[in-house]
């Protein structure tokens, strides 16, 4: 169930980039991966909380990028 191998190394293989200009504040990313994405209180624009999310967040981050209506989330998976 739990994996006791080395941690930390895997954490670096996804890099998240957000584009504030494209963000339309839909909030899907925050609902899907609240540890990685937030929204500014004053206008709802995305705030990137964790540019290099841990591996257990990768699926949610990929989903957030896929469904973002502003196409404002870019992922670099080999970073």
């Amino acid at each position: 169930m739990t994996y006791d191998g080395p941690i930390g190394e895997e954490d670096t293989d996804m890099k998240v980039v957000t584009d504030e200009a494209k963000c339309c504040g839909a909030g899907q990313c925050v609902l899907l991966a609240p540890e990685v994405f937030g929204q500014r209180d004053e206008d709802g624009v995305v705030v990137l909380l964790e540019p290099r999310p841990a591996e257990d967040r990768h699926a949610a981050v990929r989903e957030a990028a896929a469904v973002c209506p502003g196409a404002a989330i870019r992922l670099d998976e080999d970073a």
């Binding site: 494209k22 339309c24 504040g25 839909a26 909030g27 899907q28 925050v30 609902l31 609240p34 929204q39 500014r40 209180d41 004053e42 206008d43 709802g44 624009v45 990929r62 989903e63 896929a66 469904v67 209506p69 502003g70 196409a71």
Partner: protein
């Protein structure tokens, strides 16, 4: 475009309440950029493929300037919420639109929606209590779908609970030129405008914790805020955009889940699927209404066809959401589908401002229904469900249920 293409009437007539018309698949395969004739008699270009719809919705050349002299009229009676003087008060594009959107957007963040959730659950619980008191069978649309979103919008705008039902009536009238006459719709719009003017004045005198008060507090245009008329129209737009759409979607979602009751049972067994089930209901909705009309202010190439400036394009998000090249088993309702990049809320800078609100309302409605009325079932055969064709929004006239 091919020479053998016929001019379709749009909206495409369809008697099945929950199933798509056969034409969608044919158009996607053979005529993805199709000439259609609108109820007004004017011509427009219909898009049905996912990639085309998504690209055009996000393209700045496709505008909402449906008042342009050469834009197609949607219906002979007038285009209601799609055009008119009121719609023109909210900036349509560019930096001004983004500014407006961000001023209002702060009220639709995920955090705000999570904060609103307990109040929504309470509203849903109370409405279901009333349904249970009246006894089965009942109409889920009238009992839950229609009142829930209008009560929530009233709370957000700071409208007293006593005025909720007047709000429902105005909203219904403004969107249904076919059901109400033009005179009745104009009268309702006048009353609504007057009520909202009074409400804005009241909030200015005595601010509350609501959207109107916060828009007022942002100051006038010179301070980066909105004019009084813009604030008023913004409030009206939220009701018009957020009421009937969500009301109908609650009814359609429940109808789709009960039409094949194994879907409902799957959710009873595993309520963690509620989120993806809501998204799949949005994708699978074959009775979504007109789609989004756009006016091209410059020549635009779509799917290999060059559309001239001045073309009115109709984006059918519902047809795009059934595109097999994007969604595996697109004709199946898969309650666990993920990711589900459907276009039910549009796409790009103009995608639905209230989508987080709509999602939360749909999730709450489903969650409370599953918990309170697990034995829920349709009280009529699926074939007896009747569509209602508003100009903007598709829905079901009634959703008769028992429990």
């Amino acid at each position: 475009m091919s020479a053998d293409e016929q001019t379709l009437s749009y909206p495409i007539p369809n008697d099945a309440a929950l199933d798509p018309p056969a034409e969608w698949a044919e158009l996607r395969a053979g005529c993805p950029v199709a000439h259609v004739r609108l109820p007004s008699g004017d011509r427009a270009t219909l898009l049905t493929r996912y990639t085309d719809v998504k690209r055009v919705l996000a393209d700045p050349r496709s505008t909402r300037l449906l008042n342009a002299p050469d834009a197609a009229r949607l219906s002979a009676e007038g285009d209601g919420v799609f055009s008119g003087e009121l719609a023109a008060i909210i900036p349509d594009s560019g930096a001004e639109h983004q500014h407006w959107r961000r001023l209002v957007g702060r009220w639709f963040t995920a955090k705000r929606m999570n904060a609103l959730r307990p109040a929504m659950v309470q509203i849903a619980e109370d409405l279901i209590d009333d349904m249970v008191k009246r006894g089965a069978p009942g109409d889920l649309r009238a009992g839950l779908g229609f009142p829930l979103p209008v009560y929530v919008i009233c709370d957000m705008l700071g409208v007293p609970a006593a005025d909720r039902d007047r709000f429902s009536y105005w909203s219904d009238t403004l969107l249904n030129l076919t059901r109400y006459g033009k005179e009745e719709a104009d009268a309702a719009q006048g009353e609504f405008f007057e009520y909202m003017s009074g409400l804005v004045a009241a909030k200015r005198a005595e601010p509350g914790d609501d959207l109107l008060s916060e828009l007022i507090a942002a100051g006038g245009p010179e301070d980066g805020g909105l004019t009084d008329v813009q604030i008023l129209v913004t409030g009206m737009a939220l009701l018009v955009a957020g009421h009937e759409t969500t009301a109908n979607m609650i009814g359609k979602m429940v109808a789709m889940l009960l039409a094949d009751r194994t879907r409902w049972e799957r959710l009873l067994a595993d309520p963690s699927l509620i989120r993806t089930a809501v998204e799949e209901s949005l994708r699978f909705d074959a009775n979504a209404g007109f789609g989004l009309p756009r006016y091209l202010n410059a020549e635009t190439e779509v799917g290999g066809t060059v559309l001239p400036r001045g073309t009115t394009v109709v984006c059918s998000m519902a047809a795009a959401n059934r595109d097999e090249t994007v969604f595996g088993n697109a004709g199946e309702m898969d309650l666990a589908r993920s990711p589900n990049p459907h276009l039910a809320f549009g796409h790009g800078a103009h995608s639905c401002l209230g989508q987080a609100l709509a999602r939360t309302e749909l999730q709450v409605a489903l969650e409370v229904l599953l918990r309170r009325l697990p034995t829920l079932e349709l009280a009529v055969p699926v074939e007896k469900l009747e569509r209602v064709e508003g100009l903007a929004v598709g829905g079901l006239r009634e959703v008769p249920v028992r429990w």
